[in-house]
Symmetry: C2
Subunit: 486 residues, 2 copies
Amino acid sequence: MARKAAIIGGGVIGGGWATRFLLSGWDVAIFDPDPEAPRKVGEVLANARAALPALSDVPMPAEGKLTFTGTITEAVEGADYIQESVGERLDLKHRVLAQIQQVAPDTLIGSSTSGFKPSELQQNAANPGQIFVAHPFNPVYLLPLAEVVPSPVNPPASVEAAKEILREIGMFPLHIRKEIDAHIADRFLEAVWREALWLVKDGVATTEEIDEAIRMGFGLRWGQMGLFETYRVAGGEAGMKHFMAQFGPCLTWPWTKLMDVPEFNDELVDLIAGQSDAQSGHMTIRELERARDQNLIGFLRVLKERNWGAGKVLLDHDARRRAAAPDPVPETAAPLELAHMTVLPGWIDYNGHMTESRYLFASSETVDAFLRFIGADMEYVHSGYSYYTAETHIMHLDEAKLGERLTGTVQVLYADEKRLHIFIRILKAGEPIATLEQMLLHVDMGLGKTTPAPKAILDRLLPIAEAHKALPVPPAAGRHVGQKKG
Amino acid sequence: MARKAAIIGGGVIGGGWATRFLLSGWDVAIFDPDPEAPRKVGEVLANARAALPALSDVPMPAEGKLTFTGTITEAVEGADYIQESVGERLDLKHRVLAQIQQVAPDTLIGSSTSGFKPSELQQNAANPGQIFVAHPFNPVYLLPLAEVVPSPVNPPASVEAAKEILREIGMFPLHIRKEIDAHIADRFLEAVWREALWLVKDGVATTEEIDEAIRMGFGLRWGQMGLFETYRVAGGEAGMKHFMAQFGPCLTWPWTKLMDVPEFNDELVDLIAGQSDAQSGHMTIRELERARDQNLIGFLRVLKERNWGAGKVLLDHDARRRAAAPDPVPETAAPLELAHMTVLPGWIDYNGHMTESRYLFASSETVDAFLRFIGADMEYVHSGYSYYTAETHIMHLDEAKLGERLTGTVQVLYADEKRLHIFIRILKAGEPIATLEQMLLHVDMGLGKTTPAPKAILDRLLPIAEAHKALPVPPAAGRHVGQKKG
């Protein structure tokens, strides 16, 4: 049975949490007195459905059930996890937390607060040890970071349980060991924000110039290494000490205006809002959201390909889900259904169609799954043996567009000790959009020549080949380019 | 004749500038009294050669000539542009600038200073109007940002000329209209750095935890949108004003320790250096540099695919160079050499080999170049017509590795009004590593059916097809998968 998450407060952040849980197969109950909440959460959910699956290389679980409740009590009853995302006022948070604990005194309650310390949230609580900070970052359905901040009264086992749930929904729980106002990340954001307000107020730079100063330079660095690792590299062979000796003295120079807080009046608000309109007003907020999400998906896929930073979180998440999913069971005389894919932003051309080479990519994903299935997995490759593709024939039959779901199947045409002759179908809604015929050879990578596959692999491969003899040979098999039909 | 850039100071930053100019076809003369300078610059250059070409989709110009000189005078004589990157001491910079202007009083002189204002650099200069700030970001050969800061004495035409040179070497010159200590970006870096030092000093977080707080969350956002655009989106439909109303009051909360400067003593240096070793010490600086560069290349390629942020800079740079490069001239009876590519990080698998589907990708790039060559370019596609691939046959003959240069050639086997039957070779050092045979059909995309190509295209295509009749038909043409050789 699906577990249940209760989300109290259904704004951009609460909605983001809801979508993470839903798309991870949890049922979600949301309480928010705003009559617009279902519409707003629906918009976040639409964004998340178009984005989060694009990061996964294993099938997504079936989406959970989403309900909106009329009371906090209904929302939290039977919940396995509760996330509070109401407005940033301590009295309001205390009231909501008290109501939650009347019904669910022993359930984990994460708070999305960006500023309050857990000990502040826990004041006068019925069971303070169940309340902690789990501070996410917008868009919650894409960015992995959740700052997890306990106070000394939180039992370590509860904190670990909370972190495990966050990992399960694909997040990176960063355990902050010492509570402090605004945790870590928002202290940095606050420092930059203050300085930026001064620069705009003093007419040094516009909002657009400030954004360019960030995203054309250090912003790119910070998507993959943080502050210290970046500077470690900048220090060169001499390392961190050398860098600090160089950069240390600047600390006392008058480089920032942070000692002062700019007066936050209407004039400053209007100045910034006006500049922001000039900078980004040609796109709607929805268009900006989509652009942001597609950019982030691209970055995250890059990091995933390289098993680095946030990409490592994604790979670990896939591995966790793959381990939980059962092996496909081969039906005796049917092509094996081995891969489920979504057409990703990086797969399409300017016309929105899947590019030619991605058909072969989808096929490779399918063949990789088949090779894993017969035991020729990554571990096997590391042992020095592999199947190499010698030859491929592709028929393009139809098109695919962004976000469409594809399935890859494999039919074995012939197999022996060295050769593997297969036919791959890439299907959309059950119909082939491309078929591929391939000859693979089993090779000793060290010697760079073909060699018989070991018994363990042949014991899995040959029975499938035998069963598939009963299948009709596809007309496209054995075809050469430009051959007449029939 | 190649233009000449003089680089005064050959550290990480000066070396970075040198590589940008060299790889853009400029000759470069470096002056640096450090006897280790040639080795250090050589290392930066090796990194840059492995990285910068990976961002380009047009052929790179021939690399310029690099020399190291014994004096500033030799370096700047005959230079078309001078970049000063010596240590961050005003007296030193004044001395170097004075020496430069004795020989080259009218040449543009950019300074890499991260802190000084241009008016400070210009004090007592022979020709202050030629001295300005051009502040880059490490790695200079990958990050496009250069903060260009003039003072009121710089003639606008000089500033524009400097910006044009920076664009020519692929950078994004951000014109900062009002000089201020540390320009813009480093004011932010300084604010974050101070706060980070406090967090480490007070034992709130380690260097690694701080880095994760950055790169798992807002760092990813800032690689593609800056501060203000990100917050505009976070404000939702209500926009920037709404966001500011929400976030404004926090300004006066005690979220940062920036009013104080932490004492920069040996204890703090040791604490940070020790934590940094624990975090990143398993990799050498060279390994970290390579990881960083490959991550950045990935991010930049993502943005380039999406014509967004730094990616737009790259596309504009390609367009500029493509416009400057002549069309390839078809030799009558030889395959057309149409594409030059470098095996990029995203093209390889965990073994470091180019993945299967990227052979088809390299072929697609070649065929796209061929289609552009016969007039079926993007503009033509937008008019509603295109060539679609119906069928492909691939022979895998050899492998390619990261950074290797590939060439794509096209031989026309047969062409008529509707059909285009071609043979593509992907060559490494002149030898094919894969060959592809393809049948393309000319289609009316609106009707979704084949239609004769217009005269303008056939007038370019058919003479090539006629000339290529003299070429031998490759043995792999007409082959089906698994066919016996001979």
